[in-house]
Amino acid sequence: MINTIAYGLTIGAILYIISIGLSLTFGTMRIVNFAHGFVYTIGAYLLISSLPFVRDNFFLGAVLAVAAVIPISYVVERFVIRKLYGVSIDYAIIATYAVVLIGVDSIKWIWGASPIPLSDPIGKDISLFSVVLPMYRVLIIVLALVIFGALTVFFKKTIVGKIVTASLEDKDAVKSLGINVDKYFSIVFVIGSCLAALGGVLYAPITSVHPYMGMMVLLISFAVVLVGGLGNIKGTFVSAFVLGLVMAITGRYWGPAAETMVFVVMGIVLIFKPVEV
């Protein structure tokens, strides 16, 4: 059972890392960003491509992959997302979905459609409370906590973070202070995309890498964001870990139902707490 909980916390940690960017774009721009799932996938693929250059050093590969996502996410932001500010939300959904179609097809073109397996980069186990856990998973949980702490500081202490937090509350008021909100949104968008790519990189050794891996994760991240509250940084953190545990515990008893259970929980939450968008 402790193993299951630990697994749930690992999934929760990865979900948190992926969802935070989604929550921010959702909260600031009111855009449902399907391209987020594509960024997640391309992160994992870039890791695979960069590993041979760094002599299979996972850490360096991960850094390279996340860094390589910055220009990609900037292009997506500059040519698609930025044109969607203030446009009807349906067009935003469709346009970002189109980005996913183009992106996934490019991945199939470059890397092929068949799944690529990756092995656990650390391979050592750690014993905690008389339970043996893979070191890698414990590190992921620690990393998520570090990112949570760093983001909290970022949004509370830095000027960029403060502007974004204020725009989450009231975009027009911030604009009227003469601040170019869109510029800060694109910074947030790139940060969020990098975190999504990081999530893909971290999740790659746990499952296999394939072109459509982003779709399911994206749906679950949406559930995380909706349950946690749009643009709510703490809420996303809590709901990611709760839903991660839901997945792990359901998966323990009935494997195929793990993902579906997340949506059931989301449905129940939405019945009692309708989201106003």
């Binding site: 959702f26 009111r30 855009i31 449902v32 698609v80 044109k83 939300i89 349906d90 067009y91 959904i93 469709i94 346009a95 979905y97 189109a98 980005v99 996913v100 179609l101 183009i102 996934v104 097809d105 490019s106 199939k108 073109w109 459509y212 779709m215 749906l219 949406f222 559930a223 909706l226 195929p256 139902a257 993902e259 579906t260 949506f263 059931v264 989301m266 449905g267 939405l270 019945i271 309708p274 989201v275 968008v277």
Partner: protein, 322 residues
């Protein structure tokens, strides 16, 4: 007679002859595409109509409409296997199932708008896909799907493809006629007003929740109808009928045709089916092509093909008037 003729200006002729034009259009493409494909096209058009009632008229984009199509498809198949082989009764059962799923899920779904509406539909579609693929695979045949066998009716033999085609075309016209009357009624005006500004409609004293719920039920029912007809045509149901990743097909079709127009839905349905049937065999990277096409539609032709054509005619008329 004379006064009636003067009433028929160019615009009104199109309005009055829409149903003959739809029938004629399908009869024209029938020899080009063959009977199976044309039937398929017509069924897809019914699905696009159902989707467009929600999207084009009420302004709610659903990303999980395959769920309602699949509900109809699976209901027909299971009904024909366990209850009765009468195809007409099976279609009625599918309509009832479609209405039921709308009644049950409606209160949760229609309270949301925009992105949440799209995603909750998608989430439910995912749950439905799981149910038929894994949870109830003993009854639905899981990934392999299952065949549907219908008994012969004395007056309608659905083993004959020409009869199926005629029946589907009749159903398309029926759905079109019903939805045309529906959208032209005061009720239709009301749901269009909800699209424009729901708060104001509420302010006028309407309980918008009920109107949205009923529109949602109509959309799910007609979608289930389309699903039922596809089984009549294929005779086989697989989980791909309820696959969430196929949701984009109907959205794309509605967008090409131009949302908010029933004519447009039918044009969009035919154009999309033509693209997906023929383009995929000529262009290997057709997903990428579809992606760029979607981006172009979103950024350049928001009104779709039908909107573009009507816009062109309107501009020409203005030029002539001047």
């Amino acid at each position: 007679m004379e006064t009636a003729r003067t009433d028929l200006t160019k615009r009104n002729i199109w309005r009055a002859l829409d149903i003959p034009i739809i029938i004629a259009g399908f009869l024209v493409i029938l020899p080009i595409l063959g009977i199976n494909r044309t039937t398929d096209f017509a069924i897809f058009c019914i699905f696009v109509l159902a989707f467009n009632i929600l999207y084009g008229f009420m302004g709610r984009l659903s990303f999980g409409h395959m769920l309602y199509l699949g509900t109809g498809a699976y209901t027909v198949t299971l009904f024909s296997e366990h209850v009765s082989g009468n195809p007409l009764l099976a279609i009625l059962a599918a309509l009832a199932a479609g209405a039921l799923i709308g009644v049950v899920l409606g209160p949760i779904i229609v309270r949301t708008t925009g992105a949440c509406f799209a995603l909750i539909n998608l989430a439910f579609c995912q749950v439905g896909h799981f149910l038929v693929l894994v949870a109830f695979s003993r009854y639905t045949g899981g990934e392999d799907g299952m065949s549907a066998y219908f008994s012969k009716l004395p007056f309608l033999d659905f083993g004959n493809k020409a009869v199926v085609f005629g029946f589907v075309l009749f159903c398309l016209v029926l759905a079109y006629f019903f939805l045309k009357k529906f959208t032209a009624s005061p009720y239709g005006v009301l749901i269009k007003s909800i699209k424009e500004n729901e708060t104001r409609v509420k302010f006028l004293g309407y309980n918008t929740f009920n109107y949205k719920w009923i529109t949602f039920i109509i959309s799910t029912t007609v979608s289930a109808f389309a699903g039922a007809l596809s089984i009549l045509n294929y005779g086989y149901v697989t989980p791909s009928f309820i696959d969430p990743s196929r949701a984009v097909e109907v959205i794309f079709a509605a967008l090409i045709g131009g949302s908010g127009s029933l004519y447009g839905s039918i044009i969009g349905g035919v154009v999309y089916m033509a693209i997906s049937n023929y383009l995929a065999s000529y262009i290997p990277r057709w997903e990428m092509f579809l992606g760029f096409a979607l981006l172009i539609v979103v950024f350049r032709f928001r009104t779709g093909v039908w909107g573009f054509i009507t816009g062109l005619f309107a501009r020409r008329r203005d030029a002539l008037a001047r």
